[in-house]
């Protein structure tokens, strides 16, 4: 399987970029420190106040000190903000995906293995979650939550709580098919208790479909986070996130194209890399897809 993945050029490129992003996210303060900058210090002298506060100099004020220039309006170091933004964007997406998978698989397997009533109840719950308009609900929820709650964690939880339906449905469906497999019956005949059946017979069978699904869920969650931050209900300043940077960048389109370009490109690249990874995984893990996708 690893060998097959290594042959998928898209996957390799995606995996390298994705791994790089995760690394950047984890080591953000270190990286910013390396550049001798932090993401909060203002640099008024680098801005042209008369022109609305655009950075002085070409390419958004790129210099030896400020590797990627400074943020218009504040003069904060863009490199530091971008790497910290990675921390939020990637961190929230990863956390949300993890929570979703945890919740979804638990509920899905419970529904699939449980009795008629458990299944009926949990299935309705899954239907309910699936008919929640995620973005709408997330905006509404985030708007009424007190300001001082830790924002990134809250984002991850909200995204996960509203978004585990898909994982649960897939897990339930897979569990239902897996449980009709004779090897599950064989385990039961051998006297295995249900939790042993779930762990040893069902869960291994779930890894492939869930992994491929989760791999796509990750970029989706990242888009949701970016969207929420774009709309201003995401993380709170001065904490940076790419979505929020893009949102403020919309007013700097012409005046400071770099400010739009950098977070946009990073977001796009990261999303693309995760999608490529997901695609590669699916190609390898899902034989049916493998045929269709050639």
């Amino acid at each position: 399987m690893i060998r097959e993945l290594r042959r998928d050029r898209g996957f390799v490129v995606g995996a390298v970029i994705a791994a790089g992003m995760v690394l950047v996210a984890v080591t953000a303060p270190l990286l910013a420190g390396l550049a001798g900058q932090d993401y909060t210090t203002y640099h008024d002298t680098l801005l042209d106040s008369a022109r609305g506060g655009v950075p002085i100099g070409s390419f958004g004020g790129i210099s030896g000190e400020h590797w990627l220039g400074v943020e218009p309006g504040t003069g904060r170091d863009l490199f530091a903000r971008l790497v910290h933004g990675a921390q939020v964007s990637v961190g929230v997406a990863v956390a949300a995906t993890f929570l979703e998978v945890l919740l979804g698989v638990t509920v899905g397997v419970a529904a699939g293995l449980g009795g008629r009533w458990a299944d009926a109840g949990l299935s309705r719950l899954i239907d309910l979650v699936l008919s929640v308009p995620v973005l709408v609900m997330a905006i509404a929820l985030l708007a009424i939550v007190p300001q001082d709650w830790p924002r990134p964690l809250l984002l991850a939880v909200v995204i996960a709580v509203l978004g585990w339906g898909g994982t649960a449905r897939i897990s339930r469906g897979e569990t239902l098919t897996l449980r009709t497999r004779d090897y599950v019956a064989a385990a039961q005949v051998a006297g295995a208790p249900w939790w042993r059946v779930a762990r040893r017979e069902i869960l291994p069978g779930l890894t492939a479909p869930i992994l491929t699904y989760a791999a796509l869920l990750l970029p989706t969650n990242m888009v949701v986070e970016a969207g929420l931050s774009f709309l201003g209900v995401g993380v709170r300043p001065p904490t940076p996130s790419w979505g929020q940077m893009l949102s403020s960048a919309t007013t700097w389109f012409r005046a400071d194209p770099m400010y739009v370009f950098l977070p946009g490109l990073l977001l796009f690249l990261t999303l693309l890399s995760f999608v490529l990874v997901a695609n590669g995984l699916r190609r390898v893990l899902d034989p049916r897809q493998r045929e269709v996708l050639r």
């Binding site: 497999r181 004779d182 090897y183 019956a185 064989a186 005949v189 051998a190 006297g191 040893r200 069978g205």
Partner: protein, 516 residues
């Protein structure tokens, strides 16, 4: 006059050679059977006749002077194996037949529709005018296969190629379809090329036979001659593997497993707002005993509740009513592991993500064995596998090997009864024979009792001491094997027995006349 001549046909897919120098001829109005194990290249060869094989083809195919691919659908037609998927689900049966007819004859819409109804009648579909407007999913499997045959004869072809036309069908339906093909050949004068892995199928329906193996014809000639006096060792092996009745002396012991008026009803989903349909009575009042040391055969057609009953016997499914006791205690509450099961599909009965050794070790671990590896290797050895298979995954094994693993897992916790649900149905005749022999051996050696579920009367006759005939969830007849086979009392049992395909062509003919 020869209609079809195939000479030195070779077909390969990349490096893989599927057909390797096949030659045969078929006379107009004649019939030819091609038999061989799975993967021997039968379907590939048949498709090549229509120019549809998809591989690289060399050699000559002559259809009365023309390339058969140019007259496919009109002069050569084909009946496929799986009637469930061979018809388009989006169009009515009548439309599909009419479309083909119109295409090749240029008839008017009305004429084509009439012809469709006519041929549907010809294949004995009741009320063909109404049924023509139905979609395939509204037909039963047998009816779909009839519809496909109707489509095949609509254009009055000169050759009908039938690729395993009965494999997916019940024995009784299989017999009907084969009879129909025979009748069609007689009434329309079309030649028949019949492909099957089952010697019984070709024995009664063809005059000539080709035995294929690894893409080559190992033997061919008149069916009667080949089957009665095979020359090639492979043909002989095939014939030997066909289950033969054995008579075994047996003295029934104590009743071990008692099934007392057991029912299992599956509720059906509600239809309409208020009407709740009656439940499916999968098992509807079955009482029987399994005695120590005996092999009880359970036979019946698809959907008669065999699997449901078998699963209840091992406690996997709770009966709706009735009692199943093992050694006096309720099977669902039983603590030990004295009843085990062997499943039909050896692939789905092994967890693809765990090594076969692990799978076998599981019941031992549950029984409290700390380090079961040595015991598992012993078991592997016992079922005819090498100990090195321990670390392999199911997909790396052949079907027969997988079934041996399944058996090893079943005997691992030293059970007293093993319930086998169609353990050999998915296997080749030769493998089937080996597995049957293994089960028989183990039963002797370990003093087991066996419940053997099958739809194949021949298999049961070979292995079972007693046979229970199941129909619509009830036992219509139960008794010692020889008795049931030789003096069947129930009409259904008689019907079943009549549908059995004999490998001996003369016997096959006799049975056919019996049926009609």
């Amino acid at each position: 006059m020869t209609l079809l001549t195939v000479e030195d046909l070779r077909i390969s897919f990349g490096d893989k050679r599927a057909v390797d120098g096949l030659s045969f001829a078929l006379a107009a109005g004649g019939s030819l059977g091609i038999v061989g194990e799975s993967g021997s290249g039968k379907s590939t060869a048949a498709l090549a006749l229509l120019g549809l094989s998809g591989g690289t083809v060399s050699g000559t195919i002559d259809f009365d002077g023309v390339d058969p691919a140019t007259v496919r659908g009109s002069q050569i037609t084909m009946v496929f194996q799986d009637p469930l998927t061979a018809l388009s689900p989006f169009h009515t049966v009548g439309d599909q037949i009419a479309e083909v007819y119109r295409l090749h004859t240029g008839a008017s819409r009305k004429a084509a529709r009439d012809r469709a109804v006519e041929v549907l009648g010809q294949v004995h579909i009741a009320d063909p005018a109404r049924r023509a407007a139905a979609y395939p999913h509204q037909f039963s499997g047998g009816m779909r296969q009839r519809a496909l045959i109707a489509m095949a004869i609509a254009c009055r072809p000169r050759l009908i190629v039938a690729d395993e036309p009965t494999t997916a069908l019940d024995v009784t339906v299989q017999a009907q379809i084969l009879d129909l093909l025979d009748e069609v050949r007689a009434t329309t004068g079309a030649a028949l090329l019949l492909i099957s892995h089952d010697l019984g199928v070709v024995a009664g329906s063809t005059e000539q036979v080709v035995v294929m193996r690894h893409g080559k014809a190992v033997e061919q000639g008149r069916t009667a001659a080949v089957l009665s006096a095979p020359e090639a060792p492979y043909t002989r092996a095939l014939l030997d593997a066909v289950p033969r009745p054995t008579s075994r002396l047996f003295t029934p012991g104590e009743p071990l497993l008692r099934v007392q008026d057991v029912r299992k009803h599956f509720p059906q989903p509600r239809r309409g707002a208020f009407r709740k349909p009656p439940p499916i009575r999968a098992v509807d009042g079955v009482s029987l005993d399994v005695h120590a040391g005996e092999t009880l055969g359970i036979v019946g057609e698809s959907g008669t509740g065999k699997t449901t009953l078998a699963r209840m016997m091992v406690g996997l499914t709770a009966p709706s009513s009735g009692r199943i006791t093992f050694d006096g205690t309720d099977i669902r509450r039983r603590q030990g592991r004295s009843v085990q099961m062997v499943f039909q599909d050896p692939l789905s009965s092994l967890n693809p993500r765990r090594t076969v050794g692990e799978s076998i070790a599981d019941p031992l671990r549950l029984a409290g064995v700390r380090d079961p590896r040595a015991r598992v290797e012993g078991l592997l050895d016992r079922v005819g596998l090498s100990a090195s298979e321990y670390d392999r995954y199911p997909h790396q094994l052949s079907g027969g090997m997988r079934q041996r693993v399944g058996i090893a897992r079943a005997i691992a916790p030293a059970p007293r009864l093993i319930v086998c649900d169609e353990p050999v149905s998915s296997l080749d005749v030769t493998t089937q024979a080996q597995v049957l022999a293994l089960l028989e051996e183990l039963r002797e050696e370990l003093g087991l009792s066996l419940v053997f579920v099958s739809h194949d009367l021949a298999v049961l006759r070979q292995i079972a001491d007693r046979v229970a005939v199941l129909k619509d969830g009830t036992v219509v007849e139960i008794g010692p094997t020889a008795e049931v086979y030789e003096q069947p009392r129930h009409a259904y049992t008689k019907e079943l027995l009549a549908a059995v395909l004999a490998v001996d062509p003369a016997e096959a003919r006799r049975l056919r006349t019996l049926r009609s």
